[in-house]
């Protein structure tokens, strides 16, 4: 009986450890993230790399925005598009993603906020074949709304900043909080005017 109990306890302990290992390995933190948001968001770039990036100017809202933490930094340039006759504008951007979401039923999910910065030589609103849904001025530069107002695009300096958020009000608040990542720009300062691109 004593041996049976020892085996039972050992089995239970092993199960707990193995289960916990799988969860921690996949999520990097704790088991609660499984319930809330599934797998941890994978980053393909880092804040440190962004800070020393030598390309175009990058902007973010820091480590969190209105309670949503920075959960991923992405840099996945499309250099050899699968369909080059279509992909004339090749995505070349750095993204800062705030807040998480839960993919379900084989579907992906949209995070609450993404700030996607491309060189303005890649594209500007003038290249978009959809009508905008409004224009505004943010910190001295023109902002153009798309996607029912949930997407705001700013061309500043040599960068195109595309903010994918939840509403017109939210993306405007984000624009008001943008700060430089690899350039000196603090909240409250005007954004640099667009630089002419050949």
């Amino acid at each position: 009986m004593k041996r049976f109990l020892i085996v039972l306890v050992a089995a239970a302990l092993s199960f707990t450890l193995v289960s916990g290992w799988f969860l921690v390995r996949a999520h990097g933190q704790d088991a609660t993230s499984v319930v809330d948001y599934g797998a941890s968001p994978v980053s393909t770039y880092s804040v440190e790399e962004a800070e020393s990036f030598q390309g175009w100017a990058l902007y973010s809202v820091g480590t969190s925005f209105e309670g949503m933490p920075l959960v991923a930094v992405l840099k996945d340039p499309v250099t050899a598009p699968v369909d080059p006759v279509v992909t004339l504008i090749r995505p070349n951007d750095v993204s800062f993603i705030y807040g998480d979401c839960l993919p379900q039923d084989g579907d992906g999910c949209a995070p609450p906020l993404e700030i996607q910065i491309s060189p303005s030589s890649s594209y500007t609103p003038a290249d978009i074949d959809l009508p905008d849904v409004g224009r505004t001025t943010v910190r001295g530069v023109e902002g153009v709304f798309y996607e029912e107002g949930a997407n705001l695009i700013l061309v500043t300096g040599s960068s195109t900043v595309s903010i994918y958020g939840s509403s017109r009000d939210q993306v405007l608040r984000v624009a008001g909080q943008l700060r430089g990542v690899n350039v000196a720009l603090s909240v409250g300062q005007q954004l640099p005017p667009p630089v002419a691109v050949e």
Binding site: P77, G106, G108, A110
Partner: protein, 227 residues
């Protein structure tokens, strides 16, 4: 005076009809740029970018008939998603995907191309009847190192191919669709062109990777006869 007002109204109505598609049945083309988990359209319900538009004669049955004929994507299996156009939101008409090898359990548990489609709310004066879709390539993920793909189902889940130097699964699916409609037999019947919509939001997949469209939609014209 009254006659003049009536005449102006009639002329204005005719001109408006010519320029803008006129009646409620011939409004301009408009769609929400992403498929949805549910209605109404909102960012938190976005699932996939719209990357295919079928102009011409794209009612539901014709669209699915053409997709099956040209792509041979003749299987189903997948979640119900929703589409919104002109503020009218509703469930997809149908979905089509590669058939998995015989004996696959469940029957859709394989890497595959996949699309969901729905006719837009209005016809367009120039484009005709239009339908939109979310073509993509997705992998079946069921290993224990990706438990996010095992929740809530324990059997696994699909994840759209992540971003890479060639693009993502969304770009691959769109290319596959475009090429299928432009094979030797179909050439001429199904002319195509692309538009840049910039619907490049990243979508988290069940394995934690990200997939986004390159922002292009390909428009493939459908003719008015079934195959």
């Amino acid at each position: 005076m009254l006659l003049a007002v009536l005449l102006a109204a009639v002329v204005g109505g005719v001109c408006g009809g010519v320029l803008f598609g006129g009646s409620t049945g011939q409004a301009h083309f408009q769609t929400y740029e992403y498929t949805l988990k549910d209605c109404p359209a909102a960012y938190k319900r976005q699932v996939d970018p719209i990357n295919i538009v079928f102009p011409g004669y794209a009612d539901g049955p014709t669209t699915v008939n053409h997709i099956q004929f040209h792509t041979k994507w003749d299987a189903g299996g997948g979640s119900t998603q929703y589409f919104s156009s002109h503020g009218s939101c509703g469930a997809m008409y149908k979905q089509r995907a590669w058939a998995c090898p015989l004996g696959t359990v469940p029957s859709f548990a394989c890497d595959r191309f996949h699309i969901r489609v729905r006719k837009t709310y209005h016809s367009d004066g120039t484009k005709g009847e239009t339908a939109t879709g979310d073509a993509h390539h997705e992998d079946w993920v069921d290993d224990p190192f990706n438990p996010g793909c095992l929740v809530p189902s324990v059997i696994g889940s699909h994840a759209v191919d992540k971003n890479g130097s060639n693009g993502s699964g969304f770009d691959k699916g769109r290319r596959e669709m475009r090429l299928a409609f432009n094979d030797g037999y179909a050439a001429g019947n199904h002319w195509w062109y692309s538009e840049y919509w910039n619907n490049r939001r990243n979508f988290k997949q069940c394995d934690g990777d990200w997939a986004r469209s390159d922002g292009y939609t390909v428009h493939i014209r459908l003719h008015n006869s079934l195959h």
